[in-house]
């Protein structure tokens, strides 16, 4: 019997010809990624179990990307960046992206020019920008949204500090081989829909535990018609259905992207035609509608036009899910020449995205000009308020706000206050809603 893409990657890294779902295997690691929130704990586990003088399994295969708590005066957050810096120096870690402007106590002055800092920002977006995502590989990251990188035809999953400490010392980890659920996307997305609508629709259908312990493989001409960034949005939220990983087979677009970022060799693997799936679901993209997840769960699905009565106090465009350059291009398409009625926060995922806000244009105006003219506030690249963070975090919900957001989670208190309510939607829907001050179907503004 044939094997799925996920099974093939795991088998290859376990050094065997084939694996079966449910089987536990030890696999080798191509990349281990960590950041400022989980890096210090991971380093602590590594030192505790392998000794104070231990060396990491391969300093070229560990990527450290501070991104969570950068723009804060929190002393502990600064201390954690220093722990990363010391470890990088001690171990000779090659791929480290330092927030070099965090140099003293107090709230750091952000980078002046995003092209002149080593700092990148949100790890899941910086990884592909810097060439660390490659087909056929295994990427472990100390962050649940590590599954984003499945968009590059690799097995990518989030792990805790203990597992990461183990990988740091051995380069290996045990995994239970997941069953694969297949999601076949037919047709093409109309102009008023985005990948976010697709994945919110799917999560609403299968539930926040609908893919627990399983791989979610996306296939069909619909998924291959999507850009790389939109594919990342889909894989990013696999974890919101409980999935172990999301994965999209490699095509020419993937290879062109990866080749433009790295010259490291990789191996493209594909699911066999007779592979066994847990289940197969099919979707016609043209029939979807702008979709929203209501408080307090990503599977609490509704259609944007059925929530017109919901008054908002806040809009947020950012994060690994909705802070990529195409997310801002989409939002700017709606916001061009309009005014926002509610506080609207724009946070580019990375410093590269921040630069592109000046380079990309809508009707002759840069995206930055469009957002500022509309009355939005733009912050520096970071995870920022997606997960609340320290009290001084840009855009954080500090009271009973009603927010519509391009992020991935709306659990109680996720963006700050437990009294806040968060609605999740596409950048198009968030931008349209910011203009009205209530939840709005983007078709009201664009065709």
């Amino acid at each position: 019997m044939g094997q799925t893409l996920t099974e093939k990657i795991l088998a290859r890294h376990a050094g065997v010809d084939s694996v079966q779902p449910g089987e536990n295997v030890w696999v080798t690691t191509d990349v281990l990624m960590t950041h400022d929130v989980c890096g210090p704990g991971t380093i602590g586990v590594f030192k505790k179990h392998f000794g104070p003088d231990a060396r990491v399994f391969d300093p070229e295969k560990i990527v450290i990307i501070p991104d969570h708590y950068i723009f804060t005066a929190d002393l502990h957050a600064h201390r954690n960046i220093d722990i990363l810096r010391n470890f990088v120096k001690e171990q000779g870690i090659r791929y480290y992206y330092d927030p070099d402007f965090v140099t003293s106590e107090g709230y750091p002055s952000p980078y002046k020019d995003p092209s002149k800092t080593h700092y990148k920002g949100v790890c899941h977006i910086a990884l592909p920008e810097e060439g660390h995502t490659r087909p056929g590989e295994i990427l472990f990251g100390t962050d649940s949204h590590t599954c984003t990188a499945g968009a590059f035809g690799e097995f990518a999953t989030g792990i805790g500090n203990t597992d990461a400490g183990f990988v740091m010392g051995t380069g290996k980890l045990w995994l239970r081989v997941p069953e694969t659920m297949k999601f076949i996307l037919h047709g093409r997305l109309p102009s008023y829909l985005m990948a976010k609508d697709i994945i919110l629709h799917i999560i609403g259908e299968i539930g926040v535990d609908g893919a627990t312990y399983r791989a979610m493989e996306f296939d069909g001409e619909g998924v291959f018609s999507l850009s790389i960034e939109e594919r990342m949005t889909i894989c990013n939220m696999a974890i919101e259905a409980g999935g172990k990983n999301g994965i999209i087979p490699t095509d020419e677009l993937t290879e062109n992207f990866v080749r433009s970022k790295t010259d490291k060799p990789y191996t493209v693997l594909r699911s066999d035609p007779d592979a066994a799936y847990h289940s197969v679901r099919e979707y016609d993209l043209a029939r979807l509608e702008p979709t929203v997840a209501q408080p307090h769960s990503p599977d609490h699905r509704a259609l944007a036009h059925d929530l017109r009565e919901v008054k908002l106090t806040r809009a947020y465009i950012g994060s690994c899910t909705g802070g990529k350059i195409e997310d801002f291009e989409a939002a700017a398409r709606v916001l061009d020449g309009k005014q926002v009625q509610i506080d609207t926060f724009v946070v580019p995922a990375t410093t590269w995205v921040d630069q592109e806000l000046d380079n990309r244009k809508v009707n002759g105006h840069s995206l930055r000009e469009v957002f500022l003219a509309a009355g939005a506030k733009i912050g520096p690249a970071s995870c920022a308020a997606c997960l609340g963070g320290p009290a001084d975090t840009f855009g954080r919900l500090n009271g009973p706000e009603v927010c519509i957001s391009t992020t991935n989670r709306n659990f109680p208190g996720r963006m700050g206050s437990k009294a806040a309510q968060v609605f999740l939607a596409s950048p198009l829907t968030v931008a349209a809603s910011a203009i009205r001050g209530s939840i709005t179907d983007p078709r009201d503004f664009i065709g």
Binding site: C38, Y69, G160
Partner: protein, 190 residues
């Protein structure tokens, strides 16, 4: 962690889909996990993200850890489905452990929380066949016997079956994934 085979203590009841932001809100993730004094903060804020109305069911209104303290009077947490969903933060089972919790009993788990609980040796994530969060009451005296495969509610005089731990029992028995790997000859004994 090498806990006795039978765990006994007061139960704390929560609902479905308890995510890791509720278990330990992100603003607290800045504290050291290694410093004995600073890490007590994780005990102080364990389950502090749960809305008060859902804290300690069925009545609610009972914080897991009393304000100002870092230790809970509850030892066993009872949940519904998909316990520990969301972020991969290992701070979640760590915080529950720090506050004194020894086990969770739920009908299902999110996989990263499950792995972290076992590989880090913080607590036993036991799986019940029946949703005990609808039956048990916060404060009930409960006994968890993972070897015998049952959980007993002493206060209510009830016994419920657990799903066998399977392969992970060996890691729980060893204490954590490092001890397990040493036993298996995967890594050298320090």
């Amino acid at each position: 962690m090498s806990e006795p085979k039978v765990i006994r203590g007061k139960a704390y009841i929560l609902g479905d889909d308890i995510d890791t932001d509720q278990i330990i809100p992100a603003e607290h993730l800045v504290y050291s996990l290694d410093d004995p004094e600073e890490s007590k903060k994780y005990g102080s804020f364990a389950l502090s993200g749960v809305p008060l109305a859902q804290a300690g069911l069925p009545e609610g209104g009972t914080p897991f850890v009393k304000n100002g303290g870092w230790q809970s009077t509850f030892r066993i947490i009872i949940g519904g489905k998909n316990f520990g969903c969301g972020s991969s933060r290992e701070h979640a089972p760590y915080a529950l452990n720090k506050a004194g919790a020894l086990a969770v009993v739920a009908t299902s788990y999110a996989r990263i929380f499950y792995r972290n609980s076992i590989n880090g040796g913080y607590l036993i994530p036991a799986t019940s066949r029946e949703d005990l969060s609808r039956i048990y009451r916060t404060g009930d005296e409960v006994e968890l016997d993972t070897v015998g495969g049952v959980v007993r509610n002493i206060s209510q005089g009830l016994t419920h079956e657990l799903v066998p731990l399977g392969d992970v029992a060996a890691i729980i028995e060893a204490g954590n994934v490092f001890e397990y790997a040493k036993r298996m000859g995967m890594i050298a004994t320090a």
